[in-house]
Amino acid sequence: MDEPALIRSAQRGDLEAFNRLVLAYQEALFSTALRILNDADLAADATQEAFLSAFRGLNGYRGGSFRAWLLRTVTNACYDELRRRRRRPTFPLVPLDGDDEEVETPRWLADPHLSPEDQLEQAELEHAIQHCLDGLPTDFRTVVVLADIQGLDYAEVAAVLRKPIGTIKSRLARARLRLRECLQAFRELLPSAFRLEEERGL
């Protein structure tokens, strides 16, 4: 995919070119929105809104990381949604299973290629991480999602959030510290494969 060419075409109003970019980045945007909002439907709405906003404001893109630019639009959409939620608190409709029991974590989006054991393991890990992320202030949560889940470097996160790198560094350290403490409560639930001391080497 020739990303700069597609961006140039999209800037001239070529919707097909923009949609190719959408297909390339929709998972990253949806995943980011999901981690920030913790609601699949709201995350889908925010993602759609972000792409729409991105297409309309595409002429404002002045180069640099297009992924970071798109992530900024979805982050803004998520902040808008969070502000809306604060103004008008709602009770989410929790999915029910066959026995009309609430399903804590929607599973219908899980990868069907995984074995049931792997799916369960992933679901538990996801539940633990999402629970701990939800306990963070929004600004910290966003930094962690962008840096650790989306893999952006500090400069990109700073560009997305329009904050100094020093602020990003500080927020990320605080967020990781709080997540570490939170995740310790789930240590028994987490599979041993996720205790990755070998990553220390970097």
């Binding site: 109003g13 919707l15 097909e16 923009f18 949609n19 959408v22 297909l23 929709q26 998972e27 945007l29 949806f30 995943s31 999901l34 981690r35 699949a40 889908a44 993602t47 759609q48 792409f51 729409l52 297409f55 309309r56 989006l109 899980a110 990868d111 992933q122 679901a123 890990l125 996801e126 991480i129 962690v144 840096a147 650790d148 889940i149 893999g151 470097d153 500090y154 560094k169 500080s170 990320l172 350290a173 605080r174 990781r176 510290l177 997540l179 570490r180 995740l183 987490l190 996720f194 205790r195 990755l196 001391e197 990553e199 220390r200 970097l202």
Partner: protein, 266 residues
């Protein structure tokens, strides 16, 4: 880990991400080699980060591609359509201007002299020469006619042309033989003939009965259209319809082609 300051944690976090300068990195690594507690803190941070990086990715519930409808895209407008639109507007304006001109003209003309036009044939040969007591004749004519002003306005233009031949009016001052005959056939003592230069209104009104159809008869009035379009107005109207219709057809064809191309793309 709690034994270390937040500044240490921040450095460890940045060290994990490779965001320290070379000098800071060297200093931290020498401390890590000496401080087991700091090293344990780094391990925990590293595990936490690894867990976060392994957060399962959810598949997108649907594609988020945009449709032309969502972004408000319209089919490309054929080049001729804007020109046709402008031409239609200009033609329509011209048409209305001609209507307005007609209306203003008839109002002005009708207000200034409605009755004499109506009465001209009744007296035959108004323009024939100097008319004595013309004012009196006119006032009598008005009394007989008693045509409302609005009606007079409506009938103003065609009245002289249509009534004149019936009564041999001779408005332009030409020979009025029928009038002369009529007058001659009713010899009344003291009445003047047409050879006389100017018949007095008294003679005419006394000897020549005012025809009952001096105002336009109702059936004739009903048969007459309320207004007629001049050739210019007809041409403008036809042009406006053709131009507007062509613009609509071109736009419709462009929309249809656009919709077809979208379906083909899907």
């Amino acid at each position: 880990m709690t034994a270390h300051s937040f500044r240490d944690i921040e450095r460890l976090s940045a060290y994990l991400d490779g965001e320290l300068s070379r000098a800071e990195r060297a200093r931290l690594e020498s401390r890590l080699a000496r401080d087991a507690g700091l090293s344990a803190a780094l391990d925990e941070l590293c595990t936490t980060r690894a867990l976060l990086r392994r957060t399962p990715r959810r598949r997108v519930p649907r594609n988020f591609t945009l449709t032309p409808k969502m972004v408000g895209l319209h089919p490309p407008l054929p080049r001729a359509v804007p020109a046709l639109r402008w031409a239609t507007v200009v033609t329509t304006l011209l048409l209305f201007l001609t209507f307005a001109g007609n209306l203003i003209g008839s109002l002005t003309f009708g207000a200034s002299a409605p009755a004499p036009m109506e009465m001209a044939p009744a007296y035959g040969g108004v323009g024939g020469g100097p008319v004595e007591n013309a004012t009196e004749a006119t006032s009598k004519g008005l009394a007989v006619e008693a045509t409302p002003t609005g009606e007079a306005n409506a009938l103003l233009a065609p009245a002289p042309q249509e009534v004149t031949p019936a009564y041999g009016g001779g408005v332009g001052g030409g020979p009025a033989e029928s009038s002369a005959e009529t007058i001659k056939q009713t010899p009344v003592p003291g009445a003047r003939t047409l050879e006389q230069p100017t018949p007095t209104p008294e003679t005419l009104t006394m000897e020549q009965p005012i025809p009952p159809s001096a105002p336009m008869p109702p059936e004739e009035r009903a048969a007459k259209p309320p207004f007629c379009l001049s050739p210019l107005q007809v041409a403008l109207l036809a042009l406006a319809v053709i131009l507007g219709g062509t613009a609509i057809v071109l736009r419709w064809r462009a929309n249809r082609a656009f919709a077809k191309s979208l379906k083909r793309d899907e």
